[in-house]
Symmetry: C2
Subunit: 109 residues, 2 copies
DNA sequence: TGCTTTAATCGCTTCAGGGTCATATAGTGT
DNA sequence: ACACTATATGACCCTGAAGCGATTAAAGCA
């Protein structure tokens, strides 16, 4: 019987969750999912953040294989390529909503 | 049309991922999933970690609603109560394996 | 009322990583 | 070659959190 979480993978799985555990990075992937491929400048403007900051986060995301970089001229276009991302986020969102409503029920008691 | 990741939830979703983004915490939930409910002392022994450390992580996990605490005598028994946990971990594991094999293919080319 | 056991908390140190500014690098056009 | 633009990187500061030892708190028992 397979373990729920193989011990050799623990650190890797944690690392993946850590990549997603930052609001700025989530806002980047959210933007890419909503509006499709964007270059760094566009993301900087849309998210109202520092250029260096966005670049760094994009590096983290691309190193993790969440996004892919497509250079074009002096620009770099990024898009989400991780097919599991939507599922992960949607599971977490659903769970969070469940917890909120469960808490509301407890409060009512 | 709903956004992939509602902006009001960004920080909450990130926080949830952050809770799972630690190898020690993952080893705790992994143990609880494999062996069922355990008290703090048992976890300390199984994971060969400091008691204060485990207690702190359990607090984080229980605050996030991932595990539940059941006091009994001077002990405290914890178990996983988040139904989404398995799905999350299994998605990440699968994705990681995909990436590894994809990398292996690229290397072969 | 102590005494023991178990867990939670406090104080502390250390380190990873997020943010920013400044600089380097790379591509484009003149 | 030079200037201009877009992105990446380096240096730095600073906060958050992990880990540890010591202490406290709570439950059970003599």
């Amino acid at each position: 019987m397979p373990e729920a979480l193989p011990s050799e993978m623990l650190e890797h799985v944690a690392e993946r969750f850590r990549v997603l555990g930052d609001a700025t990075r989530l806002s980047i992937v959210s933007t890419l999912l909503d509006s499709g491929e964007q270059n760094v400048g566009q993301l900087v403007e849309l998210l109202d953040a520092g250029q260096a900051n966005i670049s760094k986060h994009l590096k983290v995301l691309s190193k993790a294989g969440v996004v892919t970089r497509r250079p074009e001229g002096t620009s770099a276009y990024y898009s989400v390529t991780d097919p599991s991302l939507m599922a992960l986020c949607s599971i977490v969102c659903t769970r969070l909503r469940e917890q909120v409503s469960a808490e509301a029920r407890n409060f009512a008691i």
